[in-house]
C-alpha cells in the first residue's frame, strides 16, 4: 500500500457483456480529501462506487480501501466505510430510530451506540422529530437524510456517497456539504458521485470527470478547467470534456 492513500485504484475496469462501463481507472485519494466523481448519466460513477464497496467484481485492475482489497475483503471494507446508495431502500415498517439501531447493531455497535452523535446529525439535517416515525411515511428527502445518518453512524474512515444531495432542499443540501467538510477535516476520505456541478465545485477538493467509462480529467476544479482548455467555468469544462452533452 502506498503511504497516505485511503482509496486506491489501479487500472480498474468493469465490463457488462460487450459494454464497457469503466476502463483503466487510476486514482489515489489521501485521507481527508473530498473527491467528486463527475460525469453525465451512465458515465460509470455508480459502477466505480459499487466496485469500491465490493458489490461488483472488477474485470480488470484492482481497488483498495485503507489497504484492503475491495474484491476479496469486501466485508472488512464495509466495516470501515460509510455508504449511501442513490436510492436508499429501507425497511418500511421500522421507525428511523429503529433503523439506526438495527444497522449499527449489524455493525457491532449495539451497546456502544452513541445516540448523541446520531441525534446531532439528525438535528443538523433537520429531521430529529421524524426520527421516531415509520420509514413508510418518509418522503424521498427524509429517506436520504436517514441514509446519511446511517452512513455516518459508525464513524467511518471512508465515505462513499452516491448522489448525496439529490432530492434535498437547498438548506439541507448546504448542511450536508458542511457535514462532509467537517468529516474530511477529521481525516475521513469522502468520495461522492454527482452530476451537479455546483455541488462538485463547492464541496470537493479534487474532481474526476468520467465520460463513457474513462477518466477524462482529474484535479482541483481549477485544474479541471485548465485541462478542458481556456474555459471560464467548470460548467464549460464539463461540457467540453463530455463532448457537449
Amino acid at each position: 500500500m502506498e503511504r497516505d492513500v485511503a482509496v486506491l485504484t489501479r487500472g480498474l475496469g468493469r465490463r457488462f457483456g460487450e459494454r464497457v462501463a469503466l476502463r483503466d481507472l487510476d486514482l489515489a485519494l489521501p485521507p481527508g480529501e473530498v473527491f467528486g466523481l463527475l460525469g453525465p448519466n451512465g458515465a460509470g460513477k455508480s459502477t466505480t462506487l459499487n466496485l469500491l464497496m465490493g458489490f461488483l467484481q472488477p474485470t480488470s485492475g484492482r481497488a483498495e480501501v485503507l489497504g484492503l482489497d475491495c474484491a476479496t475483503r469486501s466485508r472488512e471494507v464495509m466495516a470501515v466505510v460509510g455508504h449511501m446508495p442513490e436510492e436508499p431502500a429501507l425497511f418500511e415498517n421500522l421507525t428511523g430510530r429503529e433503523t439506526v439501531s438495527f444497522v449499527l447493531s449489524m455493525r457491532g455497535l449495539g451497546s456502544a451506540l452513541d445516540w448523541r452523535r446520531v441525534e446531532g446529525h439528525a438535528e443538523r439535517l433537520g429531521f430529529s422529530r421524524e426520527l421516531d416515525q415509520l420509514v413508510a411515511g418518509y418522503s424521498m428527502g427524509m429517506r436520504k437524510k436517514l441514509a446519511m445518518v446511517l452512513a455516518l453512524g459508525h464513524a467511518p474512515r471512508v465515505l462513499l456517497l452516491d448522489e448525496p444531495t439529490n432530492g434535498l432542499d437547498p438548506v439541507v443540501a448546504r448542511e450536508v456539504r458542511a457535514l462532509l467538510l467537517e468529516e474530511a477535516a477529521r481525516g475521513v476520505t469522502v468520495v461522492l458521485s454527482t452530476h451537479l456541478l455546483d455541488v462538485a465545485q463547492r464541496t470537493c477538493d479534487r474532481l474526476g470527470v468520467i465520460v463513457g467509462g474513462a477518466l477524462r480529467a482529474v484535479g482541483t476544479p481549477d485544474e479541471v478547467r485548465a485541462a478542458a482548455g481556456e474555459v471560464d467555468s467548470l460548467e464549460e469544462a464539463f461540457m467540453t470534456l463530455s463532448g457537449g452533452r
Partner: protein
C-alpha cells in the same frame, strides 16, 4: 465487526419490531381481521388433526384399517401439495420486477459487513416471518396430527416444530433459487408474468384447501347414496368437519336465513364502495407512476395488507360480515334437527373463521389482480380501450376465487339437499357460471366506479368481488340453478355474458368520452336499456311460472292463466315502448310480410313437433307447463289461456325481442359483428323461456330474427310466432 450470532439477533429484533409496528401503527384494521382469524383457524385445525390424543388423524388412519400406511400417505400427499403452494407464494413475493431481490438483500443491507452465515440465516428468518401465518394455519396442524398419531405429545411437538421450520426453510431456499436462476434468464415482463402465475398457483392451491372439504364431502355423499363406500381420503380434506356438521335435512328456511344477511352485507358494501369512490372530478388517465420501471413494484406482503386495510375502510359494512356468518350458523343450529346446544360454540367459531377466510382470500386475490391489471395496463394504455383489462381481471379472479365459491356453494347444496344426485353434474356448470359471473362483475365494477384503469385498484376489485362473489352468487346461483333444469343453464350463461358485454361497452364509451372530450360525442348504448327491459321481462316470466305453482288454492290452469295475463300486461307495453324507439326501414309491404310470416310459422310448427317427439323419446323431456295447463284447463280459463298463449304472448315477445332488442344490438355491435344481432336476440329469447327445450326455442328465435331483418317489419316475425304458437295450442287441445 460483530459476530454472526449478534447479527442474527439484530435481524430478529428488527423483524419483531417491524411486525409490532405494522400491528400498532399502520395496518391495525387488517391485523384485527387477520390475527384473530389465524388463531381461530389454527385452534380449529389443531383440534381436528391432533386433539384428544390425535383422535383426528387416528380416525383418518382407521378408515384404511387394512392398510394403515395408506392414510399416512394421503396426509403426506396433502402436505406436499401445501408445500408447493408455499414455495409458489414465496416465489411470487420474491420477484420485485427485473432482477432478483431477496427478502433480506436490499441495497442498504448489502453495504453492511454481514457474514455469509448470518446472511443465510437472516434470509431464512425473513422468509419465515413472511410465511409464518400461512404455514401455521395450513401446514402445521396436519404435521402435528400425523406426529401425534405415532408419538407422545413431547416427541410430536419436537417433530412438528422441526418439520415446520424445515418446510419453511426449504421452500424459502427453493423460491430463492428459482428466483435467482430465472431472473438472470428472463426479461422483466416475463418475470412479472411468472410471478403472477406462481401467485395464482399458490393461491389456487390454498383455494383448493378451502374448497376441498365441501367438494370432497359432496362426492362422498354422492357415492354413499349410490350404495358405495366413500373414498378413504375424504376426511382428510380441509373443513371436512365443517361439512359433517352442516349435513342436515332439507330446510329452505335455513338457506334463506343464511343468505339474507350475507346478501344485505354484500349489497351494502358495494353501495358504500361505489359512493366512496365515485368522484368524477378526480379522473386521471395517466398510467400510475409506479407502473413502469422495475424497482417500483410494491412488496407483495404489504400490498395485500394494505388491500385488506383499505377494504375495511372503504366498505364500512364489512364488520357485519362475521355477524352474517354467525347468523348463518346460528340458524343452522336452531333449525337443523341434528345439532344440539353443545354445537353452538363450534358453529360460531366456524362462522367467524369462514368469513375471515373469505376476506383474506379476497384481499390476496385483490392484490394479485392489481398486478394483473398493471401487467396488462401497459398494452391497454397504448391501445384503444380497456376491455382486455376487464377480461384479464375476470380471468384472474375466476382462477383465484372459483374454488372458494365452489366450496361454499357445494357446502350449502350438500347441507340443504342431501339427496341431490345432480351434485356432480352441477360442478362444471357452476364453475362456468362463476367464470361468466366474474366477467360480468368485472365489467360492472369498471362501469360503476370509474372506467379509468388507474382508479380500478385491487381495492375495488377486492371489495366488490369479495363480497359479491361469495355472498351474492352463492345466494343467486344456488336459488336459481338448483330450481332449474340443466338445459336452461347454457342460455342463462349466455345471457350473463351478454350483460357483461353490454357493461363493457358502456364503460368503454365513458372512457373514450373522458379521453377525448372534444371528439365526436358517442351516443349511449341502446343495448343496455334493452337488456334492462329484458330483465323486467325475465321477472315477468318467472312470475308466470311461480304463479302456476304457488299455493293459492286455485286450479293450476287458473293460476297459469293469471300468470299469463300478468305477463302480457307487463310485456306488451314494455315491448311496444321499446320497439317504437327503434324504427327500422320497412322493406316489405304488410301483406307480403304477413304471408311470409304465416308460411314460416307453419314450417316452424312442423319442426317444433318433430323436436318435441325426439326430445321426449331420447331424453324423456316432459311437455311444458303451457301444454300441461291447457290439457287440464276448464271453463273460462281455457279460452283465456288460448288467447294468451296463441296471441298475446307471441306478440309481446316479438315486440320485445325482434322489435326492440335486435335493432339495439345491431346498432351497438361493431360493424362486422352487426349481422349477428339476430343470433344474440335469439339467445336472449331462448334464455327467457328457461325451458329444457331451449335449442328449439333458439332455432325459432333465429328464424324470427332473420325474417325481421329481411322484411324490416316486426309484423313478419309476429305472424310467424302467432301461427306457430296457435298450432301448438291447437295440437295440445286436440290431444
Amino acid at each position: 465487526m460483530t459476530s454472526a450470532a449478534g447479527q442474527v439477533r439484530a435481524v430478529v429484533r428488527a423483524l419483531v419490531a417491524a411486525g409490532l409496528n405494522s400491528l400498532r401503527r399502520r395496518q391495525g384494521a387488517g391485523a384485527m381481521v387477520i390475527f384473530p382469524m389465524l388463531v381461530a383457524v389454527l385452534a380449529f385445525e389443531l383440534a381436528r388433526f391432533g386433539g384428544r390424543g390425535a383422535a383426528g388423524v387416528r380416525r383418518v388412519l382407521a378408515l384404511t384399517a387394512d392398510r394403515p400406511e395408506k392414510g399416512t400417505w394421503w396426509v403426506a400427499l396433502w402436505l406436499s401439495l401445501l408445500a408447493v403452494a408455499l414455495a409458489a407464494l414465496k416465489l411470487s413475493r420474491s420477484i420485485p420486477g427485473r432482477g432478483s431481490r431477496r427478502y433480506f438483500d436490499t441495497p442498504m443491507l448489502r453495504s453492511l459487513p454481514v457474514s455469509p452465515l448470518a446472511r443465510a440465516v437472516c434470509e431464512l428468518a425473513a422468509g419465515h416471518a413472511r410465511a409464518a401465518g400461512f404455514v401455521l394455519v395450513v401446514w402445521t396442524p396436519a404435521v402435528w396430527g400425523l406426529a401425534r398419531a405415532h408419538h407422545g405429545p413431547w416427541a410430536a411437538l419436537a417433530l412438528t416444530v422441526a418439520a415446520t421450520l424445515a418446510v419453511n426453510s426449504v421452500t424459502t431456499l427453493a423460491a430463492m433459487a428459482v428466483d435467482g436462476g430465472l431472473s438472470r434468464r428472463l426479461d422483466g415482463r416475463r418475470l412479472d408474468l411468472l410471478r403472477v402465475a406462481s401467485s395464482v398457483l399458490g393461491i389456487g392451491l390454498v383455494g383448493l384447501f378451502t374448497a376441498g372439504g365441501p367438494i370432497g364431502a359432496g362426492i362422498a355423499h354422492h357415492l354413499r347414496l349410490g350404495g358405495r363406500a366413500p373414498p378413504s381420503w375424504t376426511p382428510l380434506l380441509p373443513l371436512w368437519g365443517f361439512v359433517e356438521w352442516t349435513r342436515f335435512g332439507a330446510r329452505p328456511a335455513v338457506v334463506v336465513a343464511a343468505i339474507a344477511p350475507a346478501l344485505v352485507v354484500g349489497l351494502a358494501s358495494a353501495a358504500a364502495l361505489a359512493r366512496g369512490l365515485r368522484r368524477p372530478g378526480d379522473v386521471s388517465l395517466d398510467a400510475p407512476s409506479d407502473t413502469f420501471g422495475p424497482r417500483r413494484w410494491e412488496p407483495e406482503l404489504s400490498a395485500w395488507r394494505v388491500e385488506l386495510r383499505m377494504l375495511v375502510r372503504q366498505a364500512p359494512w364489512l364488520p357485519l360480515g362475521p355477524l352474517a356468518f354467525v347468523a348463518f350458523f346460528f340458524a343452522l343450529a336452531r333449525l337443523a334437527p341434528k345439532a344440539t346446544r353443545a354445537d353452538l360454540p363450534f358453529l360460531w367459531l366456524m362462522g367467524l373463521t369462514g368469513w375471515a377466510f373469505v376476506v383474506l382470500a379476497t384481499a390476496l386475490s385483490g392484490a394479485t389482480a392489481r398486478r394483473w391489471r398493471r401487467v396488462l395496463w401497459i398494452p391497454a394504455a397504448a391501445g384503444r380501450d380497456h376491455r382486455a383489462t376487464v377480461r384479464a381481471v375476470a380471468v384472474a379472479h375466476t382462477l383465484l376465487t372459483a374454488p372458494l365459491a365452489l366450496g361454499v356453494l357445494a357446502t350449502l347444496l350438500y347441507a340443504t339437499q342431501p339427496g341431490a344426485l345432480f351434485f356432480l353434474r352441477m360442478v362444471p356448470g357452476l364453475a362456468a357460471a362463476i367464470a361468466v359471473g366474474h366477467w360480468a362483475l368485472a365489467a360492472a365494477v369498471f362501469l360503476l366506479i370509474d372506467p379509468s384503469p388507474d382508479r380500478l385498484s385491487g381495492l375495488s376489485v377486492a371489495a366488490v368481488f369479495g363480497v359479491l362473489t361469495t355472498a351474492v352468487p352463492t345466494a343467486a346461483l344456488l336459488m336459481l340453478l338448483s330450481a332449474l333444469p340443466l338445459g336452461t343453464w347454457l342460455p342463462l350463461l349466455g345471457l350473463l355474458a351478454l350483460f357483461a358485454w353490454s357493461m363493457e361497452r358502456s364503460a368503454a364509451e365513458r372512457l373514450r368520452a373522458i379521453r377525448d372530450p372534444d371528439g365526436d360525442p358517442v351516443a349511449p348504448s341502446r343495448s343496455w336499456p334493452a337488456l334492462r327491459g329484458f330483465g323486467v321481462a325475465t321477472l315477468a316470466q318467472l312470475l308466470v311460472t311461480q304463479l302456476a305453482e304457488a299455493p293459492l288454492g286455485l286450479s293450476q290452469s287458473a293460476q297459469l292463466g293469471l300468470g299469463y295475463v300478468a305477463f302480457a300486461a307487463v310485456m306488451i307495453p314494455l315491448g311496444w315502448a321499446g320497439q317504437r324507439r327503434h324504427a327500422t326501414q320497412e322493406r316489405w309491404a304488410l301483406p307480403r310480410a304477413l304471408g311470409v310470416g304465416v308460411a314460416a310459422g307453419l314450417a316452424n310448427f312442423a319442426v317444433a313437433m318433430g323436436y318435441a317427439r325426439l326430445a321426449s323419446r331420447v331424453w324423456g323431456e316432459a311437455a311444458g307447463p303451457l301444454t300441461q295447463g291447457l290439457a287440464h284447463a276448464h271453463g273460462l280459463w281455457r279460452p283465456l289461456l288460448v288467447l294468451c298463449a296463441a296471441l298475446l304472448g307471441p306478440v309481446a315477445e316479438e315486440l320485445l325481442f325482434r322489435g326492440w332488442l335486435q335493432p339495439a344490438f345491431a346498432r351497438d355491435l361493431p360493424r362486422r359483428l352487426a349481422p349477428f344481432a339476430p343470433v344474440l336476440a335469439a339467445a336472449v329469447f331462448a334464455a327467457l323461456h328457461m325451458s329444457a327445450s331451449w335449442p328449439m326455442t333458439f332455432a325459432s328465435g333465429l328464424l324470427a330474427g332473420w325474417l325481421m331483418q329481411r322484411s324490416g317489419r316486426v309484423e313478419t316475425s309476429a305472424a310467424m310466432h302467432v301461427v306457430s304458437n296457435a298450432l301448438v295450442v291447437a295440437s295440445a287441445l286436440w290431444s
